[in-house]
Amino acid sequence: MADMEMIKSIFHLSGYGIYVWPAFAVTFLVLVWMGVSTLRRLRKNEANLARLQKIRAEILANQAESDPPQ
Protein backbone atom coordinates (compact mmCIF):
# COMPACT_ATOMS: atom_id res chain seq x y z
CA MET A 1 0.00 0.00 0.00
CA ALA A 2 2.86 2.33 0.78
CA ASP A 3 4.24 1.57 -2.70
CA MET A 4 0.95 2.60 -4.32
CA GLU A 5 1.11 5.85 -2.39
CA MET A 6 4.63 6.45 -3.56
CA ILE A 7 3.77 5.74 -7.20
CA LYS A 8 0.73 7.98 -7.00
CA SER A 9 2.77 10.79 -5.51
CA ILE A 10 5.33 10.43 -8.30
CA PHE A 11 2.59 10.77 -10.90
CA HIS A 12 1.05 13.65 -9.04
CA LEU A 13 4.34 15.45 -8.34
CA SER A 14 2.78 18.03 -6.02
CA GLY A 15 0.21 18.91 -8.63
CA TYR A 16 2.72 19.52 -11.40
CA GLY A 17 2.71 15.95 -12.61
CA ILE A 18 0.16 16.67 -15.29
CA TYR A 19 2.63 19.03 -16.91
CA VAL A 20 5.94 17.40 -16.17
CA TRP A 21 5.20 13.85 -17.30
CA PRO A 22 3.57 14.73 -20.63
CA ALA A 23 6.57 16.99 -21.29
CA PHE A 24 8.98 14.12 -20.77
CA ALA A 25 6.73 11.75 -22.70
CA VAL A 26 6.47 14.04 -25.72
CA THR A 27 10.21 14.59 -25.75
CA PHE A 28 10.81 10.88 -25.49
CA LEU A 29 8.43 10.23 -28.39
CA VAL A 30 10.11 12.89 -30.53
CA LEU A 31 13.53 11.38 -29.83
CA VAL A 32 12.24 7.92 -30.64
CA TRP A 33 10.73 9.19 -33.90
CA MET A 34 14.06 10.76 -34.81
CA GLY A 35 15.83 7.47 -34.21
CA VAL A 36 13.29 5.29 -35.98
CA SER A 37 13.07 7.50 -39.05
CA THR A 38 16.87 7.58 -39.28
CA LEU A 39 17.22 3.81 -39.09
CA ARG A 40 14.42 3.23 -41.58
CA ARG A 41 15.98 5.64 -44.05
CA LEU A 42 19.37 4.05 -43.64
CA ARG A 43 18.04 0.52 -44.13
CA LYS A 44 15.98 1.50 -47.14
CA ASN A 45 18.81 3.32 -48.91
CA GLU A 46 21.43 0.69 -48.20
CA ALA A 47 19.08 -2.10 -49.31
CA ASN A 48 18.38 -0.23 -52.54
CA LEU A 49 22.08 0.33 -53.07
CA ALA A 50 22.92 -3.33 -52.50
CA ARG A 51 20.19 -4.41 -54.90
CA LEU A 52 21.28 -2.02 -57.64
CA GLN A 53 24.93 -2.96 -57.22
CA LYS A 54 24.04 -6.63 -57.57
CA ILE A 55 22.05 -5.97 -60.73
CA ARG A 56 24.85 -3.88 -62.14
CA ALA A 57 27.38 -6.61 -61.38
CA GLU A 58 25.17 -9.11 -63.20
CA ILE A 59 24.81 -6.84 -66.22
CA LEU A 60 28.56 -6.32 -66.40
CA ALA A 61 29.18 -10.06 -66.02
CA ASN A 62 26.74 -10.78 -68.85
CA GLN A 63 28.38 -8.19 -71.05
CA ALA A 64 31.79 -9.69 -70.37
CA GLU A 65 30.47 -13.09 -71.46
CA SER A 66 28.70 -11.93 -74.60
CA ASP A 67 31.47 -9.58 -75.80
CA PRO A 68 34.35 -11.84 -76.67
CA PRO A 69 37.76 -10.50 -75.58
CA GLN A 70 39.41 -8.46 -78.32
Binding site: L13, S14, G15, Y19, A23, T27, V30, T38, Q53, I59
Partner: protein, 245 residues
Protein backbone atom coordinates in the same frame (compact mmCIF):
# COMPACT_ATOMS: atom_id res chain seq x y z
CA UNK B 1 39.54 18.76 -40.37
CA UNK B 2 36.77 19.87 -42.66
CA UNK B 3 38.74 18.94 -45.74
CA UNK B 4 39.83 15.80 -43.98
CA UNK B 5 36.21 14.77 -43.78
CA UNK B 6 35.35 15.74 -47.33
CA UNK B 7 35.90 12.27 -48.69
CA UNK B 8 32.74 10.21 -48.23
CA UNK B 9 34.59 6.95 -47.70
CA UNK B 10 36.75 8.49 -45.02
CA UNK B 11 33.74 10.09 -43.37
CA UNK B 12 32.06 6.70 -43.22
CA UNK B 13 35.15 5.04 -41.77
CA UNK B 14 35.64 7.65 -39.09
CA UNK B 15 31.93 7.68 -38.41
CA UNK B 16 31.89 3.94 -37.91
CA UNK B 17 34.75 4.17 -35.41
CA UNK B 18 33.28 7.10 -33.52
CA UNK B 19 29.75 5.77 -33.34
CA UNK B 20 30.11 3.27 -30.48
CA UNK B 21 31.87 5.88 -28.37
CA UNK B 22 29.18 8.42 -29.05
CA UNK B 23 26.45 5.92 -28.17
CA UNK B 24 28.21 5.09 -24.93
CA UNK B 25 28.55 8.71 -23.88
CA UNK B 26 24.93 9.35 -24.88
CA UNK B 27 23.56 6.42 -22.92
CA UNK B 28 25.61 7.27 -19.85
CA UNK B 29 24.62 10.93 -19.95
CA UNK B 30 20.96 10.06 -20.38
CA UNK B 31 21.11 7.60 -17.52
CA UNK B 32 22.85 9.81 -15.00
CA UNK B 33 21.19 12.98 -16.27
CA UNK B 34 17.67 11.64 -15.97
CA UNK B 35 18.41 10.24 -12.54
CA UNK B 36 19.69 13.57 -11.33
CA UNK B 37 16.91 15.49 -13.08
CA UNK B 38 14.01 13.42 -11.85
CA UNK B 39 15.16 11.97 -8.57
CA UNK B 40 17.92 13.76 -6.75
CA UNK B 41 17.71 17.36 -7.90
CA UNK B 42 15.66 19.69 -5.75
CA UNK B 43 12.35 21.29 -6.58
CA UNK B 44 12.48 25.00 -7.22
CA UNK B 45 11.31 27.23 -4.38
CA UNK B 46 9.13 29.22 -6.77
CA UNK B 47 8.16 26.76 -9.49
CA UNK B 48 8.07 23.57 -7.48
CA UNK B 49 8.41 20.30 -9.32
CA UNK B 50 7.61 21.90 -12.66
CA UNK B 51 11.21 23.08 -12.85
CA UNK B 52 12.10 19.54 -13.89
CA UNK B 53 10.77 20.39 -17.34
CA UNK B 54 13.80 22.67 -17.63
CA UNK B 55 16.04 19.61 -17.91
CA UNK B 56 14.56 18.74 -21.27
CA UNK B 57 13.26 22.11 -22.47
CA UNK B 58 16.59 23.95 -22.26
CA UNK B 59 18.77 21.22 -23.82
CA UNK B 60 16.21 20.89 -26.62
CA UNK B 61 16.40 24.64 -27.20
CA UNK B 62 20.19 24.57 -27.23
CA UNK B 63 20.11 21.75 -29.77
CA UNK B 64 17.57 23.56 -31.93
CA UNK B 65 19.94 26.52 -32.20
CA UNK B 66 23.12 24.48 -32.52
CA UNK B 67 21.76 22.30 -35.30
CA UNK B 68 20.56 25.29 -37.29
CA UNK B 69 23.98 26.89 -36.93
CA UNK B 70 25.54 23.66 -38.13
CA UNK B 71 23.23 23.67 -41.14
CA UNK B 72 24.07 27.31 -41.89
CA UNK B 73 27.80 26.60 -41.73
CA UNK B 74 27.36 23.50 -43.91
CA UNK B 75 25.32 25.56 -46.37
CA UNK B 76 28.05 28.18 -46.59
CA UNK B 77 30.66 25.45 -47.13
CA UNK B 78 28.51 23.92 -49.84
CA UNK B 79 27.71 27.13 -51.71
CA UNK B 80 31.01 28.95 -51.33
CA UNK B 81 33.65 26.24 -51.05
CA UNK B 82 31.73 23.47 -52.80
CA UNK B 83 32.46 20.99 -50.02
CA UNK B 84 31.10 17.68 -51.36
CA UNK B 85 29.50 16.36 -48.19
CA UNK B 86 28.14 19.66 -46.90
CA UNK B 87 24.77 19.43 -48.66
CA UNK B 88 24.29 15.91 -47.33
CA UNK B 89 25.10 16.97 -43.79
CA UNK B 90 22.60 19.82 -44.01
CA UNK B 91 19.90 17.51 -45.41
CA UNK B 92 20.56 14.97 -42.69
CA UNK B 93 20.56 17.50 -39.87
CA UNK B 94 17.35 19.34 -40.74
CA UNK B 95 14.75 16.78 -39.59
CA UNK B 96 16.70 16.23 -36.38
CA UNK B 97 16.79 19.96 -35.68
CA UNK B 98 13.08 20.21 -36.40
CA UNK B 99 12.44 17.48 -33.84
CA UNK B 100 14.41 19.28 -31.14
CA UNK B 101 12.61 22.52 -31.91
CA UNK B 102 9.24 20.82 -31.69
CA UNK B 103 10.17 19.27 -28.34
CA UNK B 104 11.32 22.71 -27.17
CA UNK B 105 8.03 24.34 -28.19
CA UNK B 106 5.81 21.68 -26.62
CA UNK B 107 7.73 21.37 -23.35
CA UNK B 108 7.87 25.16 -23.26
CA UNK B 109 4.10 25.41 -23.63
CA UNK B 110 3.58 22.93 -20.79
CA UNK B 111 6.07 24.76 -18.59
CA UNK B 112 4.59 28.13 -19.52
CA UNK B 113 1.14 26.99 -18.52
CA UNK B 114 2.32 26.29 -14.98
CA UNK B 115 4.63 29.29 -14.66
CA UNK B 116 2.74 32.00 -16.49
CA UNK B 117 -0.76 30.54 -16.69
CA UNK B 118 -0.63 30.65 -20.47
CA UNK B 119 0.16 27.97 -23.07
CA UNK B 120 1.44 30.48 -25.58
CA UNK B 121 2.27 34.16 -25.83
CA UNK B 122 3.57 36.09 -28.82
CA UNK B 123 6.68 37.45 -27.16
CA UNK B 124 9.94 37.80 -29.03
CA UNK B 125 11.55 34.53 -27.97
CA UNK B 126 8.58 32.21 -28.48
CA UNK B 127 7.76 33.82 -31.82
CA UNK B 128 11.31 33.57 -33.09
CA UNK B 129 11.57 29.90 -32.02
CA UNK B 130 8.34 29.20 -33.89
CA UNK B 131 9.90 30.93 -36.89
CA UNK B 132 12.92 28.63 -36.46
CA UNK B 133 10.61 25.61 -36.57
CA UNK B 134 9.06 26.83 -39.82
CA UNK B 135 12.52 27.47 -41.24
CA UNK B 136 13.43 23.84 -40.57
CA UNK B 137 10.22 22.67 -42.25
CA UNK B 138 10.86 24.98 -45.18
CA UNK B 139 14.40 23.64 -45.51
CA UNK B 140 13.13 20.06 -45.58
CA UNK B 141 10.40 20.89 -48.08
CA UNK B 142 12.72 22.85 -50.34
CA UNK B 143 15.37 20.11 -50.36
CA UNK B 144 12.88 17.64 -51.75
CA UNK B 145 10.78 19.90 -53.94
CA UNK B 146 12.75 19.62 -57.15
CA UNK B 147 13.27 16.78 -59.58
CA UNK B 148 16.93 17.72 -59.65
CA UNK B 149 18.13 17.03 -56.09
CA UNK B 150 21.10 19.34 -56.56
CA UNK B 151 18.83 22.30 -57.22
CA UNK B 152 16.85 21.42 -54.10
CA UNK B 153 20.01 21.25 -52.01
CA UNK B 154 21.27 24.58 -53.28
CA UNK B 155 17.95 26.35 -52.73
CA UNK B 156 17.71 24.91 -49.22
CA UNK B 157 21.27 26.05 -48.51
CA UNK B 158 20.35 29.57 -49.55
CA UNK B 159 17.26 29.48 -47.34
CA UNK B 160 19.38 28.30 -44.42
CA UNK B 161 21.74 31.25 -44.85
CA UNK B 162 18.92 33.79 -45.27
CA UNK B 163 17.18 32.43 -42.19
CA UNK B 164 20.32 32.49 -40.05
CA UNK B 165 19.48 36.07 -39.06
CA UNK B 166 16.85 34.46 -36.80
CA UNK B 167 19.43 32.73 -34.60
CA UNK B 168 20.92 35.82 -32.91
CA UNK B 169 17.37 37.16 -32.62
CA UNK B 170 16.38 34.06 -30.65
CA UNK B 171 19.46 34.20 -28.49
CA UNK B 172 19.29 37.89 -27.63
CA UNK B 173 15.50 38.36 -27.76
CA UNK B 174 15.22 38.06 -24.00
CA UNK B 175 17.78 40.85 -23.58
CA UNK B 176 16.66 43.23 -26.31
CA UNK B 177 12.93 43.15 -25.61
CA UNK B 178 10.79 42.93 -22.52
CA UNK B 179 9.68 39.33 -22.82
CA UNK B 180 7.72 36.97 -20.65
CA UNK B 181 10.36 34.30 -21.19
CA UNK B 182 13.07 34.44 -18.57
CA UNK B 183 16.54 35.71 -19.42
CA UNK B 184 19.57 33.48 -19.82
CA UNK B 185 20.76 31.71 -16.70
CA UNK B 186 23.58 29.58 -18.06
CA UNK B 187 25.14 30.93 -21.23
CA UNK B 188 25.65 34.48 -20.12
CA UNK B 189 28.60 36.79 -19.65
CA UNK B 190 28.74 36.44 -15.88
CA UNK B 191 28.76 32.67 -15.96
CA UNK B 192 25.99 30.34 -14.92
CA UNK B 193 23.56 31.68 -12.38
CA UNK B 194 22.00 28.44 -11.24
CA UNK B 195 22.86 26.12 -8.42
CA UNK B 196 25.20 23.20 -9.19
CA UNK B 197 22.54 20.71 -8.11
CA UNK B 198 20.51 21.96 -11.06
CA UNK B 199 23.38 22.78 -13.37
CA UNK B 200 24.73 19.24 -13.48
CA UNK B 201 21.57 17.49 -14.65
CA UNK B 202 21.09 20.28 -17.17
CA UNK B 203 24.57 19.88 -18.63
CA UNK B 204 24.34 16.10 -18.65
CA UNK B 205 21.02 16.15 -20.48
CA UNK B 206 22.53 18.61 -22.94
CA UNK B 207 25.44 16.25 -23.57
CA UNK B 208 22.99 13.37 -23.95
CA UNK B 209 20.93 15.27 -26.53
CA UNK B 210 24.04 16.34 -28.40
CA UNK B 211 25.47 12.82 -28.44
CA UNK B 212 22.14 11.45 -29.66
CA UNK B 213 22.12 14.06 -32.40
CA UNK B 214 25.64 13.32 -33.62
CA UNK B 215 25.04 9.58 -33.61
CA UNK B 216 21.87 9.95 -35.67
CA UNK B 217 23.60 12.50 -37.91
CA UNK B 218 26.34 10.03 -38.78
CA UNK B 219 23.74 7.38 -39.60
CA UNK B 220 21.70 9.81 -41.66
CA UNK B 221 24.70 11.02 -43.64
CA UNK B 222 25.49 7.38 -44.29
CA UNK B 223 21.95 7.01 -45.61
CA UNK B 224 22.34 10.12 -47.77
CA UNK B 225 25.62 8.86 -49.23
CA UNK B 226 23.96 5.56 -50.08
CA UNK B 227 21.02 7.44 -51.54
CA UNK B 228 23.31 9.47 -53.76
CA UNK B 229 25.04 6.34 -55.00
CA UNK B 230 21.63 4.90 -55.81
CA UNK B 231 20.80 7.99 -57.86
CA UNK B 232 24.08 7.75 -59.72
CA UNK B 233 23.52 4.08 -60.45
CA UNK B 234 20.00 4.73 -61.69
CA UNK B 235 21.32 7.37 -64.05
CA UNK B 236 24.08 5.07 -65.25
CA UNK B 237 21.66 2.22 -65.84
CA UNK B 238 19.85 4.50 -68.20
CA UNK B 239 23.07 5.17 -70.11
CA UNK B 240 24.13 1.55 -70.18
CA UNK B 241 20.72 0.37 -71.28
CA UNK B 242 20.78 2.92 -74.07
CA UNK B 243 24.25 1.86 -75.23
CA UNK B 244 24.21 -1.89 -74.75
CA UNK B 245 20.70 -2.45 -76.00
Amino acid sequence: MIHFLANPARFLRIGAIALPWIWTVTAASFGVGLWLALVTSPADYQQGESVRIMYIHVPAAWMALMVYTLIAVASAMALVWKHPLAHLIARAAAPLGAGFTLACLITGALWGQTSWGSWWVWDARLTSVLVLFFLYLGHMALSNAFDDPDRGNRAAALLALVGFVNVPIIKFSVEWWATLHQPASVLRSGGPAIDPSMLWPLLLMAIAFAGYFFALLILRVRAEIAGRKVETLMAMRGDEAGMGG
